[in-house]
C-alpha cells in the first residue's frame, strides 16, 4: 500500500538536489539574474539536466530516469526552498507528462530532447486574468490539412525563453492542443516584467499555420493529453510552493533566534513563538497533502484530481501565510529589497495564481466531497 513516507530513493534525490542547488542556485542566483535583466539561466538548466532532473518523468527508453511524480515533487520542493528559476515545471513536468500520453515516435523523440535538456517548453493556456482552460477562445480554424491559429495567450510561464509552446485552442468540436516551435511564423512573444523576476510572456498568434503533425493527441480532444499534464504541473507547483514556505519559514525561525530586542532574542517572546509554531503546523499539514498528491499520481492517476487540488490549495495558503509572517516577524528589514524575503513573497503570489488559484482548487475539492 502507498505509504505517506518518503522512500530512501526520494530522500537521496532530495539530498542530492539540495547539495547541487545550494551551490548552483541559492536565492542570490535569482537576484543576480534579475539585476542582469534576465529570467533564466540556460547553463543552470543544462546542469540540472545533467543531474537527470529534466528526464525525471521521461521513460527510460527515451533517455529519462522515469522516477515518477513523487520524485518530481521532491525536486520541485527543493527548488522552491531557494526560488530556483528554471523551466523544470513547464518542460520536465508539464510537457513531458503531456507527451507521455501520446505513444508515437515523434513524441518519444520529443521526450528524449526534453531529457537531454536540449529543448524547453512553455504551456500557453490562459487568456484572461484567471486560470480557466475550458474558457479558451483562441481559434484554430481548419484549413486544408491543417489549421490557422489566431489569438492571444497571457501569463505563459517560461514562454519568452521556451523553444517550443504547447498551445490550447478551440477547434470545430472542442479544444485541441498544439505542439509548436516558438519561432513559427506569426508568433510574437513579449516577455513581461513579472513581480517574481521569472519568465512569463504575452504571446500573440497571427495567422499561424499548424499541420496535423503539430497536434498533440487528437483533434477536439485536448483534455486526454492536457488534463494529466495539468495535474502533474499543479502537484509539482504545489510542492515548489511548500518548499518556498519551508524556505521562508526557516529564515524566519533563524531570525527569531538571532535578533535581539529588549536584551533578549525576539524568539523568547511567546507572541512570536506561538505564531511560528502555528506556521510550522501549517507547513507540516501541507507536506502531507504534497506527499499524497505525488503518490496518487504515481499509483492511481485516474483518481488523483482531488489529491492534486488539495495539495495546490493547501500549498497556496501555506506559502502565502509563510511569507506574510516572514516579513512581519523580520520587521523593517523584511521590507527591504536587499533582504531575500521579498523574493519569496513575490514568488508565492505568482505561484498562487499559476495553474489555478486557491478558489479554483478548493472548488474541485468541494465538488469531489459532495458540496
Amino acid at each position: 500500500m502507498a505509504k505517506l513516507v518518503r522512500t530512501e530513493e526520494e530522500v537521496m534525490l532530495a539530498d542530492a538536489a539540495r547539495g547541487f542547488l545550494d551551490q548552483a542556485a541559492p536565492v542570490a542566483h535569482l537576484r543576480g539574474l534579475r539585476d542582469a535583466g534576465q529570467t533564466q539561466d540556460r547553463a543552470l538548466w543544462s546542469g540540472m539536466a545533467a543531474m537527470g532532473w529534466a528526464g525525471v518523468l521521461v521513460p527510460e527508453e527515451a533517455g529519462g530516469s522515469d522516477m515518477g511524480h513523487a520524485a518530481a515533487c521532491a525536486l520541485a520542493g527543493e527548488m522552491g526552498k531557494t526560488l530556483v528559476a528554471s523551466p523544470f515545471l513547464s518542460t520536465a513536468v508539464i510537457a513531458a507528462t503531456a507527451l507521455r500520453q501520446v505513444s508515437d515516435a515523434r513524441a518519444v523523440q520529443a521526450l528524449a530532447r526534453i531529457a537531454s535538456g536540449e529543448v524547453t517548453y512553455a504551456l500557453a493556456i490562459d487568456e484572461g486574468a484567471k486560470f480557466d482552460p475550458e474558457a479558451t477562445q483562441m481559434q484554430a480554424r481548419a484549413e486544408g490539412n491543417g489549421f490557422r491559429l489566431n489569438g492571444e495567450k497571457r501569463f505563459v510561464v517560461d514562454g519568452a525563453n521556451a523553444d517550443r509552446l504547447l498551445v490550447l485552442a478551440r477547434t470545430d468540436a472542442g479544444l485541441t492542443l498544439f505542439d509548436l516551435p516558438a519561432d513559427r511564423d506569426g508568433i510574437t512573444r513579449e516577455g513581461q516584467a513579472m513581480i517574481d523576476s521569472r519568465d512569463a510572456a504575452r504571446i500573440t498568434f497571427a495567422d499561424v499555420i499548424a499541420t496535423g503533425e503539430d497536434v498533440l493527441g487528437q483533434v477536439d480532444d485536448a483534455m486526454t493529453v492536457l488534463a494529466p499534464a495539468l495535474r502533474a504541473g499543479q502537484a509539482a507547483l504545489a510542492a515548489e510552493m511548500a518548499g518556498l514556505a519551508a524556505g521562508a519559514f526557516g529564515m524566519t525561525v533563524e531570525y527569531l533566534k538571532e535578533r535581539k530586542q529588549f536584551g533578549v532574542p525576539i524568539g523568547a517572546f511567546q507572541a512570536l513563538q506561538h505564531r511560528a509554531a502555528h506556521l510550522w503546523c501549517e507547513c507540516e499539514v501541507t507536506a502531507s497533502a504534497i506527499l499524497n498528491a505525488g503518490r496518487m499520481l504515481d499509483e492511481d492517476p485516474e483518481n488523483a484530481a482531488l489529491a492534486v487540488s488539495l495539495a495546490k490549495a493547501r500549498a497556496t495558503d501555506t506559502a502565502q501565510r509563510a511569507v506574510q509572517e516572514g516579513v512581519q516577524m523580520h520587521g523593517g528589514i523584511g521590507m527591504t529589497d536587499a533582504f531575500d524575503m521579498g523574493f519569496y513573497m513575490k514568488r508565492a503570489r505568482v505561484g498562487a495564481e499559476w495553474l489555478g488559484d486557491y478558489g479554483y482548487h478548493a472548488n474541485i475539492v468541494a465538488q469531489a466531497r459532495g458540496f
Binding site: K3, Q270, W280, G370
Partner: protein, 385 residues
C-alpha cells in the same frame, strides 16, 4: 501482484464479508456522538440490542482493539491491515463497537510500560468492554502545569495510602477504575516525584461529584481520595518515574482528541451537512470549503505520522501538532454545523448544540492549544525560554 498485496487483498475480502454479515443494520449510521458511543464497563446499559450484539461480535474477533496483540484481546493487525480495517468500517459507515479511555490511553501506556502480568491482567477486560477506566490527571492547582500534582500516595509498606483531589476526571462517576498521577516523593523536583498508579473506584474512600458543563451534560467530575488503600503492585513503570508514563499516555490522548475531529459527532462530511441544510449562503459555503480542505489535509497528516512511526522515523512532537490542528479544526467545523442548522440547531432537543459546546473543551483537555504551541516552539523549533 506482489505477495504482500495479495495477502492484504485477501484480508480485505474476508473482513468485508465478515462486516457485511455481522454488523447490525442499526450500527451502520456512522454516528459517533455522545448518545451513540458504547463506553462499556460494569455500569454500562446498552442503548439497544444491536449495540450489545455488535460489541460481542467484535470482541470475538479482537476488533474492539484491532492493533493490540491477540493475547491481550486484540486482532494483532499490522499497519496495512489497520488501514484496511478503518477503510472497510467507513465503507459500511459502521459505528465503532467500543470506545474508552482504556483503549485510547491506558492500553498504549500499559503495552509500553506495563509488566507482562499487568498486561494480561488489565488489557483483556478493556478489550472486552468489561472495565471502564477514567483518567486522574488534573487537579485544581495542576491544569496546564500538570506536573504540579499534589495528591499523594504514601508508601505504607504493602500498600499506598492515597489522599487528595482530582478534577476534570471524565466519566469518573461511571468508571470502574482510574489511572492517576500521584505524588510519591514530596522532596524531589516536581517531575521526579510522581508515580502512575491504578486504583479501583470502588475502594473505600473514593468519592466522585459530577460537574455540570455549558452543554448541560456532566461528563467531567471531581474525584476525592480520602485515605484510600491501594495494593503496592498497582504502579505502572517505576516509582517516581510516573511522569514518563504520563507523557507517553498524553501523546496518545492528544492523537485521540485530534482524530475525533474528522467525525463532527454526526459522522458526516461538511458538504453533506451543508446540502441537507438547503443553505444558499455563499459565505458559509466558502468557509465550509476551506474547512474541508484543511480537514482532509489534517487527516492525511495523521496517516503520514502513523506511516512514519511504522517506518521507524521519529515523528518528533507530532502529537502536539495533531492535537492543536485537529481540535481547532473540530471547533471550526461545529461552528459551521451550527451555522448551517440556523435556528433549528438552537433547540436543545435537536442535538447539535451539545456537540458544538462539547468541542470547546477539545482545545483545553489533554493540554491546551497554547501549551501545544509552546511545546512545538521549544522542542521542534528550538526557540529560547
Amino acid at each position: 501482484m506482489a505477495e504482500e498485496d495479495r495477502a492484504i487483498a485477501a484480508f480485505r475480502d474476508e473482513l468485508r464479508a465478515w462486516l457485511e454479515a455481522n454488523c447490525p443494520a442499526d450500527m451502520r449510521d456512522g454516528r459517533n456522538d455522545e448518545a451513540s458511543i458504547c463506553w462499556g464497563g460494569k455500569n454500562w446499559n446498552f442503548t439497544s440490542e444491536a449495540q450489545r450484539t455488535w460489541l460481542q461480535r467484535c470482541v470475538s474477533k479482537g476488533y474492539t482493539v484491532p492493533t493490540w496483540p491477540v493475547e491481550y484481546g486484540g486482532a494483532g493487525l499490522n499497519r496495512d491491515q489497520e488501514k484496511v480495517f478503518h477503510q472497510e468500517m467507513r465503507r459500511l459507515n459502521a459505528r465503532y463497537p467500543l470506545q474508552s479511555f482504556g483503549i485510547w490511553m491506558l492500553g498504549p501506556a500499559l503495552l509500553h510500560f506495563g509488566t507482562h502480568e499487568q498486561k494480561l491482567h488489565y488489557l483483556p477486560p478493556i478489550a472486552r468492554g468489561e472495565i471502564r477506566w477514567c483518567q486522574g490527571y488534573s487537579e485544581p492547582g495542576a491544569g496546564s502545569d500538570l506536573a504540579n500534582v499534589q495528591s499523594r500516595a504514601e508508601d505504607k509498606g504493602d500498600h499506598w495510602l492515597v489522599n487528595g483531589q482530582k478534577i476534570w476526571t471524565s466519566y469518573a462517576d461511571q468508571a470502574d477504575w482510574i489511572f492517576a498521577l500521584l505524588r510519591t516523593d514530596r522532596e524531589a523536583p516536581k517531575h521526579k516525584g510522581i508515580s502512575f498508579i491504578l486504583l479501583d473506584m470502588t475502594s473505600p474512600g473514593v468519592t466522585t461529584r459530577p460537574i455540570k458543563l455549558i452543554s448541560g451534560a456532566s461528563p467531567f467530575c471531581e474525584t476525592f481520595f480520602d485515605n484510600v488503600e491501594v495494593p503496592r503492585e498497582q504502579v505502572v513503570g517505576e516509582v517516581n518515574r510516573g511522569w514518563d508514563v504520563a507523557k507517553y499516555l498524553l501523546t496518545h490522548e492528544r492523537e485521540m482528541i485530534s482524530a475525533a475531529g474528522g467525525t463532527m459527532g454526526s459522522g458526516r462530511a461538511l458538504g453533506a451537512v451543508l446540502a441537507d441544510s438547503g443553505s444558499t449562503d455563499t459565505v458559509l459555503r466558502a468557509d465550509a470549503m476551506r474547512a474541508e480542505v484543511d480537514g482532509l489535509a489534517v487527516a492525511l497528516t495523521l496517516e503520514r505520522y502513523k506511516d512514519q512511526a511504522e517506518a521507524g522515523q521519529g515523528a518528533g512532537d507530532a502529537s502536539a501538532m495533531l492535537k492543536y490542528m485537529g481540535t481547532e479544526l473540530n471547533k471550526r467545523n461545529l461552528e459551521l454545523v451550527m451555522a448551517a442548522g440556523g435556528s433549528d440547531a438552537l433547540v436543545w432537543e435537536d442535538g447539535r448544540a451539545p456537540n458544538w459546546l462539547r468541542t470547546k473543551a477539545n482545545s483545553i483537555e489533554g493540554g491546551t492549544s497554547e501549551v501545544m504551541l509552546s511545546i512545538i516552539s521549544k522542542r521542534v523549533l528550538g526557540l529560547p525560554g
